[in-house]
Amino acid sequence: MSSFSVTEPSNRAKWFAGTLVIVYALVTMVPLAWIMLTGFKSPSDAISYPPKVLFEPTLEGYVNLFTTRTRQTPEFLDANPPQTWYEEIVREYDMVIAGPSKFGERFLNSVIIGFGSTFLSIFLGTLSAYAFSRFKIPFADDLLFFILSTRMMPPIAVAIPIFLMYRQLGLSDTHLGMILLYTGVNISLAVWLLKGFIDEIPLEYEEAALIDGYTRFQAFYKVVLPQAATGIASTAIFCLIFAWNEYAFAVLLTSGTAQTAPPFIPTIIGVGGLDWPAVAAGATIFLLPVMIFTILLRKHLLRGITFGAVRK
């Protein structure tokens, strides 16, 4: 006899849901897997038709991503035998390594701007969300609506004014400028998400801490923050993903010092032919930080820590 439960989904439902999830995962994973594989292909394998699933892996794409190369005469090449494994790879095309590419710098820019703006969004967002959640603020609802309304148009709609403003202020192509811009876009999301999480934390904990000898700020720091960790972690992931992937403003406002990886990666295509493996290698490396960040915070995403210690 099969067991029957009102709350437990039936086996058929479970199979259906499972299949759906797996199919969806495959559909979204295939392009990612394709990019990662392409990073290890040779340029000819990368564009061969029909596409090659099995191929001889090479690090050529990664070498090309991180270096600039020049073609040399056979005499020069014979006189200077390759010293390292990556010099050997480029030697196959009669080239030598002229120096490092700008990818490292651009990637570092992405890290600074992405994590910097995420930190600032979370810092400001948590404090404002706490204030909106706990204090009587005149016109609080209107202020919250105003904050939300900054998300009601695509950010790029204000690209021209921001471009002009940044030029006047000297913020074009600076780390600070990009951090402020991404923080400005993310802050509304951060305030709204975090307010929801902080509203859920019962006031009694702070009251207990106030009586236990702590100031309001210490109560916030020692009691509210640890319990808001789940919300802070998920909000941080959303903020980072936006700032990390942002392309349009990065193209418009950065070109040198503060250029991030997204506008840089396509420029690889223009250097010495269509070097798809190098582009794929750049995209692969570019994916890693957000992936690692999400995995690190996964514990907080899954854990509901505020249950049960207040009798309702």
């Binding site: 019962p202 009694e204 904990y205 009251e207 207990a208 801490a209 106030l210 009586i211 236990d212 000898g213 702590y214 100031t215 210490q218 009691v223 640890p226 319990q227 820590i305 505020t306 249950f307 049960g308 210690a309 207040v310 009798r311 309702k312």
Partner: protein
């Protein structure tokens, strides 16, 4: 430990009156119990003293200081919340140590460890010290929240029904233990409860609240034996005090509207005939449920008696309490 004085304290929440012109002196070392139904202002009184609420008018003096401008931390009070309010992200040990680690107390680690161990022992939660606060039963959470107050030696302990969700045996144990701790430390305690036994056995003073007003303040015995209103008479006593119209037995002072008799203040064998409806044998005494001309009356009888339901018994009041139309005592 300190004396706490409330002077004409009032607080309302919009339309609702929380506390209405309360004046009360809680002597140093006293164990004051606040009695009253839900909404009478008991919890609001505690919150006003702790500084979690600001009064609309009136003064609060703790240990000779007017604390109007002081934060809860500066007032040096410890509070046990009705809803426990344990910090869910901390272990039981860290919950107990939390007040000791505060910037105001800055207790040395060895001292923290000693106090936490001592309190955990008293409250029988030593084996749970390393549990998360969320991994406890309701009774254990309540003990931890009492412990979080007891690790300190504040000017006054404020406790909001701290024993309400414990089982009977533990409640009895802790009642005795709390009273012992209070007596040993000479602690000042303001305690909210609905439980008559807690009020009668622990309190040095009882304050009865009604709709935000302090209607009587005195020793438990005084409140029980000499209530100044029908309302106060009904707050203490189990089974409840019997209330009858003044004309049932007659022979009352003029102006008397109702008389009230404790179950033990009814003499048997003489007076009016009442029907015995139910007899409960409680071991040390028998409880009789009577019907006297349509009025339900509860009284007690010697355990040796053998009354039967359906038979009759003659009863008469022994020094009944008399009240006027407004429920005020006529002496």
């Amino acid at each position: 430990m300190a004396e706490v004085v409330l002077k004409n304290l009032s607080k309302s929440f919009g339309e609702n009156v929380g506390v209405d012109d309360i004046s009360m002196t809680i002597p140093d070392g006293a164990f004051v119990v606040l009695l009253g139904p839900t909404g009478a202002g008991k919890t609001t009184t505690l919150r006003l003293i702790s500084g979690l609420e600001k009064g609309d008018s009136g003064e609060i003096w703790i240990g000779g200081r007017n604390v109007a401008s002081e934060t809860p931390a500066q007032r040096d009070v410890a509070m046990v919340f009705q809803q426990y309010s344990l910090y869910p992200h901390l272990s039981v040990r860290d919950n107990l140590a939390f007040p000791l680690k505060s910037p105001i107390l800055r207790t040395p680690p060895a001292e923290i460890e000693r106090k936490v161990a001592e309190v955990a022992d008293v409250l029988q939660i030593t084996h749970k010290l390393d549990n998360k606060a969320t991994a406890l039963s309701g009774g254990e959470m309540q003990r931890v929240s009492i412990g979080r107050a007891l690790v300190r030696e504040p000017s006054i302990y404020l406790m909001d029904e701290p024993l309400s969700s414990l089982d009977a045996k533990l409640r009895t144990d802790l009642r005795v233990e709390l009273k012992r701790i209070q007596a040993n430390l000479g602690a000042t305690l303001l305690y909210v409860t609905h439980d008559q036994i807690e009020a009668m056995t622990m309190a040095t003073h009882v304050g009865v609240l009604n709709e935000g007003k302090l209607v009587q303040f005195g020793s438990p015995r005084e409140i029980y034996e000499n209530p100044n209103s029908l309302y106060v008479a009904g707050r203490l006593g189990l089974p409840r005090i019997n209330i009858l119209p003044a004309d049932v037995f007659g022979n009352v002072p003029s102006g008397t509207h109702q008389i009230a008799m404790r179950p033990e203040h009814i003499a048997q064998g003489d007076g009016l005939e009442a029907d015995i409806q139910r007899v409960e044998h409680l071991g040390d005494h028998n409880r009789l449920h009577l019907n006297l001309r349509g009025h339900a009356i509860t009284t007690i009888a010697d355990p040796a008696t053998d009354y039967r339901p359906g038979t009759q018994i003659k009863i008469s009041p022994r020094s009944p309490l008399c009240f006027d139309v407004d429920g005020n005592r006529i002496r």
